[in-house]
Symmetry: C2
Subunit: 202 residues, 2 copies
């Protein structure tokens, strides 16, 4: 029987080696390559693409989501499984939109990873249930698309004036959005907003 060929991408060498050993301990898996950065993978041409790519979301420079899109375009037959430190709606949604096949936590057991891979190879999708909007308590999911956009620009250190220019809207509008963001997140300054965003890995 042919083994399931796997490529790993994570910025930490120890994780790569650990994961490799976990997978290789089963006869059915074969880790054919691993990469410490998206760029290195992109510099490689697979003559026969692997059955599965295992990606971390948070890798420097080019993140896992972008890498997933690249992979899915270049090797449409390969599956992609995210293994991430943090499982939140933003990440899971982004992974789904990038056409990934699964998203699991680094908090999973080795057993669960193996099961997930087998399942994905049978064309199943493995995603955590998204937290319900209405029962959410962190306010983040109540933010509109525009508010999230402005939030990012505030974090980037831009003033309301510059944000207004960039989005071709009034400075008043930007400040209204800012106020609404603050209300929804129950905070009262940009500094607190930036803290909130970092805590939620945005």
């Amino acid at each position: 029987m042919k083994k399931i060929s796997i490529v790993l991408v994570d910025d930490h060498q120890l994780f790569l080696e650990g994961m490799e050993r976990i997978l290789e301990s089963e006869n059915e898996f074969s880790v054919i390559n691993n990469f410490q950065s998206s760029e290195k993978l992109m510099a490689t041409n697979f003559v026969s693409p692997p059955d599965l790519f295992v990606l971390d979301v948070e890798i420097p420079v080019i993140n896992g989501i972008a890498l997933c899109q690249y992979i899915k375009e270049k090797y449409p037959s390969s599956k992609v499984l995210f293994v991430s430190m943090y499982v939140n709606n933003q990440f899971v949604r982004a992974a789904k939109e990038a056409d990934a096949d699964g998203f699991i936590s680094k908090n999973s057991s080795a057993q669960y990873v193996k099961q997930s891979i087998r399942s994905i190879l049978c064309d199943n999708k493995i995603f955590p249930a998204l937290i319900n909007k209405t029962t959410s308590n962190n306010g983040l999911l109540m933010l509109s698309k525009r508010e999230k956009e402005i939030m990012q620009l505030i974090k980037a250190g831009k003033t309301s004036k510059k944000i207004a220019e960039e989005l071709f809207i009034s400075e008043f509008t930007v400040e209204t959005h800012r106020k609404n963001i603050f209300k929804k997140l129950k905070i009262e300054s940009s500094v607190q907003l930036v803290n909130f965003m970092h805590e939620h890995h945005m």
Copy 2:
């Protein structure tokens, strides 16, 4: 020959299992236990303490540094090796002060981890060289004690007025410090300061 007994502590199950396999692949190492939190380890009483504890720095609630102090007090004969995602002066200094025996990156190879453990068991210390103050380029190490203190209060979302009250100094002084921090870090707003601090894991 007696094997080197090891206990692992990390908040991610996959890392624990990977590390365990890496170490167990050599006959000389034996992972006798692993824990996903400091609390769980603290709830355990080792009749014969392990030769070595491998700790992550950033584990929730009770961090690795505090755990190291606890371990060194309760099991003085055991060694402690930190394996951390981020290697910076703050972390390394804290580890040294907590009487740890080594500090290596999660970016290390499996081979290097094993070598480090062997070395530590021979009473050597394994620490990265601290970045030289004068040749530092990130500006962080050029900050004075007072500036670092004020930086933390800014990040906590406090105004200059409140910081002044808290430190029993003038509001003008706080703003002078703020300006000097900005100059040294080459930034121009509190939002950028908070971003900088998060990027440097402060």
